[in-house]
């Protein structure tokens, strides 16, 4: 496939062309307030990353999935009925490669070897994803160390990068190619430029090479290591890390009722909460924050790689690093996991 260029003065037309009547989500607002939202104002091209990961677009914090009528004279009384996947044709511009990778990782959980989550699938597959590569990684960024790249392509249909106040575009899938073609843009050979920019952006992140060691160590060796209580000691157990993580996908299912009927909804949940695992009997397999913190890091750095051909469950977006009130830094934890003895 060839690459394409969007000149600065052609940006507005470009966004119109790719939206083509569909919902266009793009970065809105600056700095900490930047969000991926329905594009009503100018599209930001220069931002670190969006405050929240884009996962809520496909997996809202609260989502009604089923409902039922409660009164005996109503149709299908007491029988759950489906409320639809709430999917609509969407083009998303400006997902950072780390977040797109995070979505792709979650996608393998929502569409696993046995079951398909239709609510996720509908939304995920009705969205075309245009990534925006990072030229200047933020201080908390470490995607390269997690096996990704500031120009990573996983989970994207098109990769864009800022180029002379416009964009360079690299289609990655047939759907992406089609999307870009519809905008009738001048083509160009940008392969070597992309390679150079990628190299520069990776170098700006600094080295981190402890992850291979984690891959080589056995589950129980990492699990039984003696550092976990010290690692977990500062943890407040708030779960901010999980709410902001682009690959955290755990949820709770709850029914809420009114006079006429009830709704089954699913809400984000967090493994940092003691309630997450507690049995009806009161027994809790992960009773203290040591087990819960261990679970989170083991899940990201060991369990997901086992299930997903070595792809790590952390994409290096750095949100948890910045958001954790107690500054529990996954980079430090990974290094400790690689070194610690059982």
């Amino acid at each position: 496939m060839t690459e394409y260029i969007v000149k600065e003065d052609a940006l507005t037309a470009f966004f119109q062309a790719i939206a083509n009547g569909r919902r266009l989500l793009a970065p809105q607002g600056q700095g900490e307030n930047c969000r991926l939202e329905v594009a009503t104002g100018p599209v930001s091209l220069d931002y670190g990353n969006t405050h929240l990961s884009p996962k809520a677009t496909f997996f809202p914090q609260t989502e009604k999935i089923l409902a039922y009528h409660k009164k005996a004279d109503q149709p299908k009384y007491n029988q759950y009925q489906d409320l639809g996947d709430h999917a609509e044709p969407t083009v998303i511009f400006g997902i950072r490669p780390c977040d797109a990778k995070g979505l792709a990782i979650s996608n393998k959980v929502f569409q696993n070897d046995r079951f398909t989550d239709p609510y996720w699938k509908g939304k995920y597959e009705s969205a075309l994803k245009i990534g925006l590569a990072c030229l200047n990684p933020s201080p908390q960024c470490f995607c390269a160390a997690m096996g990704g790249s500031p120009f990573g392509e996983m989970g994207l249909d098109v990769l864009a990068y800022p180029k002379e106040k416009g964009l360079g575009l690299k289609p990655l899938t047939p759907a992406g190619e089609e999307l870009v073609k519809a905008a009738s843009l001048p083509s160009a050979d940008l392969a070597s430029e992309i390679k150079d920019l990628e190299k520069k952006a990776i170098e700006a992140q600094g080295p981190l090479d402890t992850y291979q060691i984690i891959n080589e160590r056995k589950i129980m060796e990492l699990y039984k290591a003696d550092h976990w209580s010290a690692t977990a000691e500062p943890c407040l157990g708030c779960g901010v890390c999980t709410f902001f993580c682009p690959t955290c996908h755990c949820f709770d299912i709850q029914d809420e009722t009114s006079e006429a009927g009830g709704v089954r909804m699913r809400n984000w949940d967090t493994c940092m909460s003691p309630l997450f695992t507690v049995h009806g009997s009161g027994h809790n397999p992960r009773p203290s924050k040591t087990e819960r913190v261990r679970q989170r890091f083991m899940h990201k750095l060991k369990y997901i790689p086992i299930k997903q051909d070595g792809v790590r469950g952390c994409t290096g977006c750095g949100r948890c690093v910045v958001m954790c009130p107690a500054n529990i830094d996954i980079r430090t934890v990974a290094a400790t996991m690689a070194q610690a003895s059982a």
Partner: protein, 288 residues
């Protein structure tokens, strides 16, 4: 009206099959256990709900939520499904107050069954403690079915509970005791007048009668303490970890390997289990 997108009417794993409660049987003197017999409102759903012993389902009570419960009936029993429910939390307490004829949902089957296919040609010893007997009852019924019984060697069933009143499925195991193609040992933990069977905890009973390990697999289900104390007896008799099969339970919501709370290491108890061999569990964190 909100925008719904596609309505997922087929293959929605979150959608329970509507069922009618056909009967409710109180199973224990303290009324903490009840066995529910469900009939599918749409008879076609019974075919869609194709299961094997050891699998579980989410009992879905409108407005209350869902609980994962092992299926106590065998697929060889047509026309209904059975679940024995212990009254513990919000959903199970509500369910205990539901009556014959009430409409609710059953979602499944979920999880993997006991490896009945891989066990063909082997002897099987089935060890049940307390009300965890449910999926093992299903297994025995399935194994004793004329279609299946010739495929297996010697079958031994060991079952213990607190008192005669706490022994579930009395009609079943009394009938099995009369057969010559299964050895049945039923015990209570403490002697009561009138009891003629064995007395003692399950591991002690097992120790007495444990079949030789050669070409034999053990299936254990029970509370953690029973599982823990049974293992040494099996080791002593020469059973290897990959021939000891167990069923785990953890808190669950989706049952589909997505919502994340039942993880034991990289495995989801709901999707990858609940049946594991001891050999598998030895490589996993003991978070269950």
């Amino acid at each position: 009206m909100t925008l719904l997108g596609k309505v997922i009417s087929v293959n929605n794993p979150y959608m329970p099959y509507p069922v009618r409660i056909a009967s409710v049987v109180v199973d224990s003197p303290d009324k903490s256990l009840r066995t529910f017999k469900f009939e599918f409102l749409d008879p076609e759903d019974e075919n869609r709900f194709a299961y094997l012993p050891g699998q579980f389902a989410e009992l879905s009570v409108p407005g209350q939520g869902e609980i994962p419960i092992g299926i106590a009936s065998s697929p060889t029993e047509k026309g209904y499904v059975l679940f024995t429910v212990n009254r513990v939390g919000q959903v199970s307490s509500f369910l205990h107050n539901m009556k014959e004829g009430d409409i609710m949902g059953v979602r499944g089957p979920l999880g993997h069954p006991y490896p009945v296919e891989a066990l063909k040609g082997k002897n099987i010893v089935i060890i049940a403690s307390g009300f965890a007997v449910t999926t093992l009852r299903a297994t025995v019924v399935w194994l004793l079915h004329p279609d299946n019984r010739p495929n297996y060697g010697r079958i031994t069933f060991v079952y213990g509970a607190r008192s005669p009143g706490h022994l579930l499925f009395k009609d079943d195991w009394e009938a099995w005791q009369k057969r010559d193609d299964i050895d049945v040992y039923v015990a209570i933990y403490k002697m009561v007048p009138g009891w003629t069977g064995k007395v003692g905890f399950v591991p002690a009973v097992l120790q007495e009668i444990c079949p030789p390990a050669e070409n034999t697999a053990a299936i254990i289900c029970g509370p953690p303490i029973a599982i823990k104390t049974t293992q040494p007896v099996l080791f002593e008799a020469g059973y290897k970890p990959d021939n000891i099969i167990m069923s785990l339970e953890n808190r669950m919501k989706c049952g589909l390997g997505i919502c994340g709370r039942c993880n034991v290491g990289p495995e989801y108890v709901c999707k990858d289990g609940p049946v594991f061999t001891l050999a598998q569990l030895n490589e996993l964190p003991p978070e269950y």
